[in-house]
């Protein structure tokens, strides 16, 4: 049962919300003035009552982006997942259909799971061969300034992209569970943030090449083979931000960037910088 439904279609040549429904614990806000007035993009903010999800909350949202439309789905602040009561899990589902020549940008703030929290998220995107998609999915270790580092019980995030119906194009699930063999903190070492950025489709082709080049440039100074001359002492400690890019899909239709970082702010800076060229398409620069 959906708690949110949005349909965006072309009306008189402009991307327009033709249907919008939401109910507790989800609230959708669709401001009409985001960025330049002459850009054809709909911005949708998803809000939850109380700034986060309490144990047992379940949000299920369906969004349809019609042919040729541009839609941005974002949040106003990080999604907090509060402590779990018993073994109850908080859940969010998103099912998105992106039409031909349409662009959907899902650019939320990170998910922050408090200690003992249990959270599961699944996002399914159904695209055509000329749809464009920008997805940012990220997670922090918790209230790490308070000492809660990777202290939640369970986190699962699935992002699946299917092409023309049921052809799997990108299937990704990350599961972090306090385990018998190793704790989450052990697996994450000193890193406090894990992020993934997916760039796909013709409208983001240029950005894909640009991000691949930039990430390569950033990372090439971070690796030193044993015995190689080091420029300075700081090269002997692990990098504060690690990023890697991979192309995926037939004819490398998409690029996925995965990031691990020691601070949330460094990932905001990275995203702001890398996605700045989206501004003409979306009417405003992501994460500004």
């Amino acid at each position: 049962m959906e708690t949110g439904i949005v349909v965006v279609e072309k009306v008189a040549g402009k991307s327009t919300v033709t249907r919008c429904f939401c109910k507790c614990p989800l609230k959708l806000i669709i401001p009409t003035k985001v960025g330049f007035p002459n850009t054809d993009a709909v911005w949708i903010y998803t809000l939850s009552y109380g700034g986060g999800l309490v144990s047992g909350d379940s949000i299920c949202c369906a969004i349809t982006v019609g042919d040729g439309c541009t839609t941005v789905l974002t949040t106003q602040a990080s999604t907090k997942v509060y402590k779990s009561v018993g073994s109850k899990c908080s859940e969010q589902f998103l099912e998105a259909r992106v039409g031909g020549s349409a662009l959907l940008a899902v650019i939320p703030d990170p998910v922050t799971c408090f200690s003992t929290a249990r959270y599961s998220q699944k996002q399914v995107f159904r695209v055509t061969s000329d749809s464009s998609l920008l997805i940012v999915d990220w997670l922090t270790s918790g209230r790490h300034e308070n000492g809660e580092k990777w202290d939640f019980e369970f986190y699962k995030s699935t992002n699946n992209i299917y092409l023309e119906g049921d052809r799997p194009l990108f299937l990704d699930s990350v599961l972090l569970e306090q385990g018998s063999c190793s704790s989450i903190a052990e697996r994450m070492q000193d890193y406090q943030v894990i992020a993934m950025v997916i760039l796909m489709g013709p409208q983001l082709k240029h950005l894909q090449t640009q991000v691949q080049g930039e990430v390569k440039k950033i990372m090439s100074t971070q690796f030193y083979a044993p015995g190689m001359k080091r420029k300075s002492e700081h090269c002997q400690i692990k990098p504060a931000l690690i990023a890697s890019c991979s192309a995926f899909g037939p004819k490398s239709v998409g690029v996925v960037v995965r990031i691990a970082a020691m601070t949330t702010e460094s990932v905001y800076t990275f995203l702001r910088h890398q996605l700045a060229s989206m501004e003409p398409l979306l009417g405003a620069s992501p994460y500004c």
Binding site: K156, T158, P168, L169, F170, L171, D172, S173, V174, L175, L176, E177, G179, S180, C181, S182, E186, R187, M188, Q189, Y191, I194, K216, M219, S220, Q222, F223, Y224, A225, P226, M228, C235, Q236, I237, K238, P239, I242, A243, S244, C245, S246, A247, F248, G249, V256, R258, I259, A260
Partner: protein, 268 residues
Amino acid sequence: MNSKCESLHHSSQEPQSESDNSNSPMEYDIEPCGRSRNTTPANNLLFWTQCQLLDSILPTGGFAHSYGLEAAIQAHIISGPEDLKTHAIHVLENTGSLLLPFVYTANRSPDMETWSRLDKMLEATLTNEVSRRASVSQGSALLRVAATVFSEVPSLKNMRDALLVSRTLSFHHAPVFGLVCGLVGIDSETTQRAYMFITLRDVISAATRLNLVGPLGAAVLQHQIALVAEEMVQKWMDRPVEEACQTAPLLDIVQGCHGYLFSKMFSS
């Protein structure tokens, strides 16, 4: 080894029987005379096949891959044998959660249709280019070797010939491994454990060549980790591919950086 593997000539059409008793605690029972009850000529032969499939001498190119170890060393995430142990455990955990479902499903239904579906799914699941390429190169090598070596299983060669024609397939390692083991008659539990074994084998072997640990130290480490590895086999075996997931995202990010290394010994 289990008793259903009477024959090496296991037909590809024959589904793995419901009576698969691989989980039976009796399988290692020793007869009073001290001989294993499974000592039949077919089982003896199967032992040789198993050993050969797990031997690092089998030319599938496993030695070319470090499973992210080389990148992790150069990023200073790993600096000594203790870190190596942690790394190997994380590699195993990720292999268990992400790849064992593919090994399992291919092994239980070693037919072309299942295998093609798994191969396409894994192509979409391995979103990290470095590990995707490593999987494809090892998978195609294993299928080539197996089709040539196990000539008593004609379906292996027939299948390879048929698959080579199709251009939409990638030959990923985990489903090929499951398929080959299924066709030569290795039960699914042994197959999944074997897959974890070769993963550990390759990480440890890469570590010695990267001079992180000596050959004797490596052997000690391999034996120690076996305990943890077995726990992971128990945790992740027999799962459907829909449940396949990453459990060590940091590892995946670091491995993805392999292409950025200025000088490298391994291809992944």
